[in-house]
Subunit: 69 residues, 12 copies
């Protein structure tokens, strides 16, 4: 296991509901094209405001996955 190689990609998830939901949508979307996702880090949390209220959250994740040999 000590010789694994990983790649890190950046994905932005959006959600009208909250931060965890945005994170989970980003992870779910990434998992449709990449196998072996391993971890994420939150890089930035932003959002859009409409009519004086939070319309949706946008969370930028760095997501790491194992590169097959």
């Amino acid at each position: 296991m000590s010789d694994n190689i990983y790649k890190i990609i950046e994905i932005v998830g959006s959600s009208a509901t909250g931060i965890e939901d945005a994170i989970e949508k980003a992870v779910a979307r990434a998992s449709t094209t990449v196998r072996d996702l391993r971890w994420f880090e939150v890089k930035e949390t932003r959002g859009h405001i409409e009519e004086g209220r939070v319309a949706h959250y946008q969370v930028t994740l760095r997501i790491g996955f194992t590169l097959a040999e």
Copy 2:
């Protein structure tokens, strides 16, 4: 639209409930004095602890709004 000018202000919202609630309170308060709020970024997430438990969350937001011409 490409020539819009925005101003960014920093507001700290507090909530005993959670991070999204603190964000939404900050945005709601800002909207009482500023129109045309457009986006926010989370700059810092902190909180106070009382009796060994989180008493409230404090989230510092940078909030952008359109400056009327």
Copy 3:
């Protein structure tokens, strides 16, 4: 009060549920060995992914507490 001295420690809380739960678990654990916890700051939010879903969140906190004289 103005002459208080504080110490800051770093604790990582984990939770399968969400970010606030991870924060509260870290604070609760710290309060079992340290009295007079006063505030926290979120330093980093990460997590592990299993089977294409968020398995648990890991939130690194800096936690400040009063040093008795």
Copy 4:
């Protein structure tokens, strides 16, 4: 002069033309409501893309001005 007090505000200028034009628009707009602008710092340079081309630049400035006594 050594006892001057300044305030710093953040303004985002936009331009379809380029970075300097976005900076100059932000400064010009700020000067319509604040006197005695003194300096700026570029904090962030971003932009929107439409049809595979840069549609406009957005430059976030910190702008300092003298507070009258």
Copy 5:
């Protein structure tokens, strides 16, 4: 108290005497137009040099104050 909302502004204080004096001048000036100042953070410490000596210190503060409901 846990639901307070704060605003943060940036003020630069100057002083020929020293860093604390520059901080205190910035706070005093801010208090002439804003009530309920609560805390400050030093963001940057700079200064001007004349004839090979420090002519004055310039300290940039982020100052937080309570927004009335």
Copy 6:
């Protein structure tokens, strides 16, 4: 729109002419292989020097685009 997912890639554009030209070349190149580019952020501005003059500018962009569902 609030549930969009984006991916961010990093591209370095070069130009003997200037910063905007380097940005536009990077965006144009990215658009040949990725559809739905949406925004960019300048991460770094560097350049090479030859014979005591700027030979070319190199601008590193983070470019965001919509991931199709």
Copy 7:
């Protein structure tokens, strides 16, 4: 000496008087429980404001000390 091991702790000192006094109080307090303090770095300088004046300074230090073998 080249094989020494050090530990770094974070202490926040407070003072109504000034920044150096807050630093010295933090160092003095740390020295009551840890021997062989060697150096400090200022990580953050903040303070509380009461009645429009600086009530006290709070300086966060990283303090290094030698770990006995």
Copy 8:
């Protein structure tokens, strides 16, 4: 050469031996799928500990390569 376009990817190399070995493994793996790798930057150096010893090093690299026209 002044008009080259580069892409930057992030790869994490692991090694039980040391930092350079982790870097070289990351570069070697990236070269199996991407041609024309040109430079790297070390972004982060971490590692896992087992039984009180470093089990392996993990080095996160940003790796730049030329995009063919």
Copy 9:
């Protein structure tokens, strides 16, 4: 495993030999007083110079370990 709590401490290891050796010395020393060390991150790499040569390396690590329940 998802509910583990970790603490992070900072240790500086020194070595006349090299960076990995300084890291390993810091980890070995920490393991004499703390069980269940899990990971480290390199925060800073410095060193002392004597007679125009590197006399020893000093590597500051953040080291995480599991807190027993």
Copy 10:
């Protein structure tokens, strides 16, 4: 070539015209006293404002050059 040693100096260029012109003036001035300038990085972009308009840009560069053996 792999054993070259470089030195990095910081130069601030000013221009009433724009950012590239400030960069080019800084590079040109540096080349009058240092040979073998190789690259630059933009560290900071600031400017002065007079009468509500940008009076001049100030760009701080880190400039690298080869040290002769």
Copy 11:
């Protein structure tokens, strides 16, 4: 004046007395070899501890001066 070119150097001043004294010593020393010093920025504030007390402060300054044409 708008076309001035500046160079920035880094100097560390030390003082047993305090932060301003360390700054002033660094500026005074720099002025013995460089004319036309114009401004400084505090980059880092550290110090040495002896016998549980601050032995001296060390302040790292970036100092800018005008380059003669």
Copy 12:
């Protein structure tokens, strides 16, 4: 000793062998023109890649030395 003044310069060392060797080459080169080198900090670790392998490491050091009075 508490009143020493230091200057910090930035040097980039290169090596085909590894990071320590690049550091030692930078220090050795600096010592040919400056006496009384005292410490270094690693600011950046990069490298060039040729034919899918690390061709050489480039380590940027900040090096401090005592200024003679």
